[in-house]
């Protein structure tokens, strides 16, 4: 189901998602959590969810695939603010023994988590297989909801990403949208493609018989406009984002790629 965004409520939705990410991260305690890469893709996830209503139920949620699985806080925050599960369950169990909410998403289709991701690159190929099956067999109203897959710019180091892009170039998948979260960082260094402001990466994607767009990944209008463009090809959206977006402590500070967020940190952030 495709919806118009209610912009009056949207800012508070995004704020809630960001602060929920941090609440869950605090619950991880000494196990630490991947904070920066979750916050960089929150804006895109919030807009995609507002348009396609992924979080309305587990079935719809299965169309949102987080290939950069370490950013699971973003998906858990979306689930926490939905009716699929509760914030309490997530906070009580995040990264704990026997939990459904580990430090990378684990396949729980009743939560709408279709695949166990975290091994980078695979989520994109799963998304292609899923889009292929749905384009072939699901001709009903639900098929109008595309498969949306989120990958990272660091993830583009992986060979399977490019294997899969070649496969996509052969297929006519108009029901697949790939968002590349170009936050400029990977675990220990700047991303290769950051150096030229993602021109090379954009050119690279453009060779694959897809529609690609290089946008500001925090600009709501740009994200919304690109998602609403009608296309008969797979859409690849390279969104230039800021790792740790939304909080001075985290923004462009790669020490928070994976860090321990204390209650004290959390209170200080929210007292400002």
């Amino acid at each position: 189901m495709i919806r118009q965004i209610d912009w009056r409520e949207f800012n508070s939705k995004v704020e809630l998602l960001r602060s929920t990410c941090l609440r869950i991260a605090v619950a991880g305690g000494d196990n630490a959590a991947h904070i920066g890469g979750a916050l960089s893709c929150i804006d895109f996830i919030a807009i995609a969810d507002s348009i396609y209503n992924f979080s309305s139920n587990a079935k719809s949620m299965q169309s949102l695939i987080l290939s950069k699985g370490h950013a699971c806080l973003a998906i858990y925050a979306l689930l926490a603010t939905s009716k699929i599960t509760t914030i309490d369950e997530i906070i009580e169990s995040f990264e704990k023994n026997g939990s459904r909410f580990l430090g990378h998403p684990c396949k729980h289709q009743d939560l709408g988590i279709m695949y166990s991701t975290g091994s980078l690159g695979n989520g994109l190929a799963y998304a292609v297989g899923q889009a292929l099956h749905e384009s072939k067999f699901k001709k009903d109203e639900a098929s109008k909801t595309p498969i949306v897959c989120i990958i990272g710019d660091g993830e583009c180091n992986e060979g399977i990403v490019w294997e899969t892009m070649e496969f996509i170039s052969k297929l006519k998948l108009d029901n697949l949208i790939i968002f590349v979260d170009c936050n400029g960082w990977q675990q220990t260094q700047r991303c290769l493609y950051f150096k030229d402001d993602y021109k090379l990466l954009h050119m690279r994607f453009n060779t694959f018989n897809i529609d690609s767009y290089l946008i500001d990944g925090h600009d709501y209008d740009q994200i919304n406009s690109v998602l609403n463009i009608t296309s008969n090809k797979t859409k690849v959206i390279l969104g230039k984002t800021i790792k740790g977006k939304g909080y001075e402590l985290f923004e462009n500070n790669n020490e928070w790629h994976h860090g321990i967020l204390t209650k004290q940190h959390f209170d200080e952030i929210h007292s400002n």
């Binding site: 695979n122 190929a125 799963y126 297989g129 292929l132 399977i160």
Partner: protein, 329 residues
């Protein structure tokens, strides 16, 4: 459901199937499977001809997906297809399918338990003449270390033709391991019953030596026994082990080996395959068994034709025959 199924033997069908190697038989069998399972899709990595899949490709172009020489993408995209409700076979040469895409196999078929069927072409030493880049003696060791995956290694082309549709019906993560060259020796010469985990009795009624064999080398075992004559056949029982199905198979093998004092295992894979599995069961039951195995050694041989490679591992007819004589005398 893994119920017992009996396949009535058809001499005509067996002859027709075994003229073909397993790869060609696999390709042709997919056509029959498509008729029974219309939603079946076949994924490949630029190996449609090598897998005998050209007829499928031409007959069902909308259900045939070639992702190019991209094995990791092959496994994960086919897994995504199956996870969203489809039925799929994904095939390419065994070393690239299992070793290059090892992690994708582990995640999709093992960790996530996605009921995708993957088919490794020309496993074992089949392509020895192309060098070890194209051999795969490590696949059983690797797949046996992953929980959840059913392994099926056909003994002959007729058996594959019978079993393949049933594997699709099982809806389990499955590794189909094809060995042998262009023409296979017939192993099944009468009706056979399978429960998808137990060894299948083929020849002999003796209780002195248990011969356990996997894949198309079972044909060599039959030839060896036939050339040894009836005095040996009375002492030996030959079972093929087409299915390696976790604890069920281990348990079935455990029960079987209790009845014998001598065991010989025949396997094209390295020590981590069937030989290791049988060895573990012997240890568990603390049975004083005289145990031998003709398997690929724990180093890479000088490569050559399949028959030459098998002879170096004592998996050719002569090697098997010599091992039997050694064990019994």
């Amino acid at each position: 459901m893994e119920n017992k199924i009996t396949f009535e033997f058809s001499k005509k069908d067996s002859k027709r199937a075994n003229i073909l190697g397993l790869r060609a038989a696999y390709g042709l069998s997919t056509l029959n499977c498509k008729e029974a399972y219309p939603d079946l899709a076949v994924f490949t990595a630029d190996t449609s001809t090598s897998a005998g899949l050209d007829r499928f490709k031409n007959s069902y172009p909308d259900s045939f997906y070639d992702c190019g020489i991209a094995e990791q993408c092959l496994i994960s995209s086919a897994a995504g297809y199956v996870a969203s409700g489809g039925t799929a076979l994904a095939s390419t040469f065994a070393p690239f399918l299992i070793l290059r895409a090892a992690e994708q196999v582990r995640l999709s078929l093992g960790y996530m338990n996605i009921p995708l069927l993957i088919t490794g072409l020309a496993s074992g030493l089949t392509l020895g003449h192309l060098g070890y880049t194209h051999c795969c003696v490590e696949d059983l060791s690797f797949i046996l270390s992953i929980p959840n995956i059913l392994i099926y290694s056909p003994s002959d082309s007729y058996e594959l033709k019978c079993i393949l549709p049933k594997l699709i019906e099982l809806k389990r993560p499955t590794y189909i391991r094809l060995t042998g060259s262009a023409k296979v020796k017939a192993v099944h010469k009468e009706s056979f019953t399978t429960d998808f985990f137990s060894p299948i009795h083929i020849l002999g009624s003796g209780n002195k030596l248990l011969l356990l064999s996997i894949g198309t080398i079972s044909g060599n075992a039959i030839q060896a026994l036939e050339s040894l004559g009836s005095s040996y056949l009375d002492q030996i029982s030959l079972f093929v082990v087409p299915f390696l199905n976790g604890e069920k198979t281990r348990s079935a093998i455990s029960k079987l080996i209790c009845n014998f004092n001598n065991i010989l295992v025949l396997d094209e894979s390295t020590y981590g395959g069937l030989a290791a599995l049988v060895g573990r069961e012997i240890l568990k039951i603390n049975h004083k068994i005289n145990y031998a195995y003709n398997i690929h050694p724990e180093y890479y041989l000088i490569s050559g034709q399949h028959d030459y490679m098998l002879s170096q591992c004592k998996l050719d007819t002569k090697g098997i025959k010599d091992s039997i004589i050694n064990l019994l005398e």
